[in-house]
């Protein structure tokens, strides 16, 4: 870990305006990004605070557009800072289940609506597959920016996205929420993603 050696402190307010504009423009987007990835608004707000704290330290080099850069920071904050919490949470949930605290309280069939079925299909994808889809469908990023946030080349991202979409479609199809595939037609990632 390197110590923070913060050059903007030498000239305090030169970049402040840029940071404040960036904060106001993107706070809601970053909060939504975090809420889609961590459980609970409180934790999401912590993620956003930590992410903008990094942006504050780097306010002399906030890129334009700033959003993919902020998403990448928030992604790392979530991955690094909350990993241990998630691991503990998983085990706690298992323990809670053993003791009956979190046992299913109702007939699943009675409360599942279409959105829940979608969630069930989504939950069956791997985390990288889910993340690829989130970046494009929920965070609204173009392939190039999404690839940057994900940490791979745009080409590799296209392939990942293609596979993730295909897998999601399969799961939805299995759940009866998409029509069966016509296997005579073929496609490839390059055709699908522009």
């Amino acid at each position: 870990v390197l110590p923070v050696d913060d050059p903007p402190n030498a000239v305090p307010d030169v970049y402040r305006h840029r940071f404040e504009r960036c904060f106001r423009d993107h706070y809601a987007q970053l909060l939504a990004f975090s809420m889609r990835r961590v459980s609970g608004r409180e934790i999401a707000e912590d993620v956003v605070a930590d992410s903008f704290a990094v942006a504050w330290r780097r306010r002399d080099r906030i890129p334009d557009p700033a959003l993919p850069w902020l998403y990448a920071i928030a992604g790392r904050v979530i991955a690094n800072q909350y990993r241990a919490t998630r691991r503990r949470h998983n085990l706690d949930m298992r323990l809670a289940h053993e003791t009956g605290a979190g046992a299913p309280g109702s007939d699943p069939a009675e409360s599942l609506d279409r959105r829940d079925s979608f969630s069930a299909a989504f939950a069956l994808l791997s985390e990288p597959e889910r993340e690829v889809l989130r970046l494009v469908a929920w965070d609204g990023l173009e392939t190039r920016d999404a690839a940057r946030v994900f940490g791979c080349s745009p080409g590799a991202f296209r392939v990942r996205l293609h596979r993730a979409r295909r897998k999601l479609a399969k799961q939805l199809e299995a759940a009866g929420h998409l029509p069966q595939e016509d296997r005579t037609a073929v496609s490839n990632p390059a055709e699908e993603i522009r």
């Binding site: 330290r57 690094n80 241990a84 085990l91 699943p108 599942l112 979409r165």
Partner: protein, 456 residues
Amino acid sequence: MTRRSRNDDALARMRAANPFSATELRRAITEAELSLAMQRAIAVGESPSQPIPVDDRVAREHAVSTRPARGGIFSRHRGASLGFGGLACVAVVAALIILSGGSVDSVRDGAHPTFAAAAVKVAEANPRLLVTAPGWSIAHARSFEVDRGELIYKDDEHPLYAPGGRQLNLTWYPARFYGDRLREDARVRTRAGRVKPVTSTLLGQRATTFAYAGQHPTFATILSPQGNVFVEVNGSLGSKQKYEAVLHSLRPVGVDAWLGAMPPEVLHPAARSAAIAQMLRDIPVPPGFDTSVLHFRGMPVSPGSNGSSLQSESALTDRFMLGKAVAGAVACDWLRSWLSATRAGDDATAQEAVDAMGAAPHWPVLLQMVREKGYRGNVLPPHGRGWPSEILAAAREIAHGHLRRKPAIRTIYAKGLPAGSLTPADAAPASVLGCLELPGSSRRTLVIPDRHRASH
């Protein structure tokens, strides 16, 4: 249907299922909230002790280019300085041994008040490891039961809730989960690749340590089971050396010494009762509210649980959790009172509940709770900002004559086991508060279909 259109349709379904819209969030966030959030981010950013992300290449290059020599000097001297630290640590432990009559395990302190029988039972079943590194002490006991518990250690030099604050978690779990936990940790991947464990011997037990690189390098050490439990220690202390120095200061102690090291407000029954009484002092309490129940049910009813297993006499909790339990119980009681009075046409009682809940922005217990979360001032954050604000939202609802009970917290299940809970953005405050027994409240459950379960 072609594969391509099918895949497009899947993505369209995904877009439609977006759980949180940034546009709606932006609309809901006020200027005051935004300013508060910005102040908080800047305060964290200003902290000189916050590490920078290791993946932030620009920052790293800058730091290296501006202070190359300093890093080199540190790296050469780190071993020596930690060596002295280690010696100091050994000296402190040796002094403890001598003062305690030759054995750390026999440290006794008869001055402590009598502990609750349940707490002694927990201690007797526990390896009772204490961090003996200077400056470290237990800040909270998040849970405290025979087969599971979590102690949060704080470092006096780096206050827990301040930016850059350090904490070490010591948890214990049933021994039967030992293998699961090792496998779970070994499966974790970071950007640098799969996390590889390092095994060693600590206090005569096999110790498996996992290192997670990242913005806050985290280390987790799992000790082999002892009796019916195994212990895991984890923390993000700034460097591997600092973590190891604290880890190797762990020592087993006797029952009294271990219980005596617990924070008084959460362990000693009398102190805990006093804390509850203090919290209740400035809150309007509903008629017939049974305060004695709280003494035995210190743990909050967490959303998504049925609450029964968490409410044991032995379950301990930190001040924030105690605040949740107390304020939550009072609020739920008022909401119940309002509901039944409204249905019975008893306007006076309903108005009493509205007035009592309307005073919630001034409840000291809530103000204290939000201060612990880093907010400043004497104003509670607006709705959606932390648990206490849910009480305010419920108060507003009954003031307007309608208490929402849907949508409620949902529990998500995967492979037949609870995998997490989902709080919808528009979840009813009564549900978030855990007023589960309110008539008509619903718990929704999401279950992965059986046919998928079979394949996992």
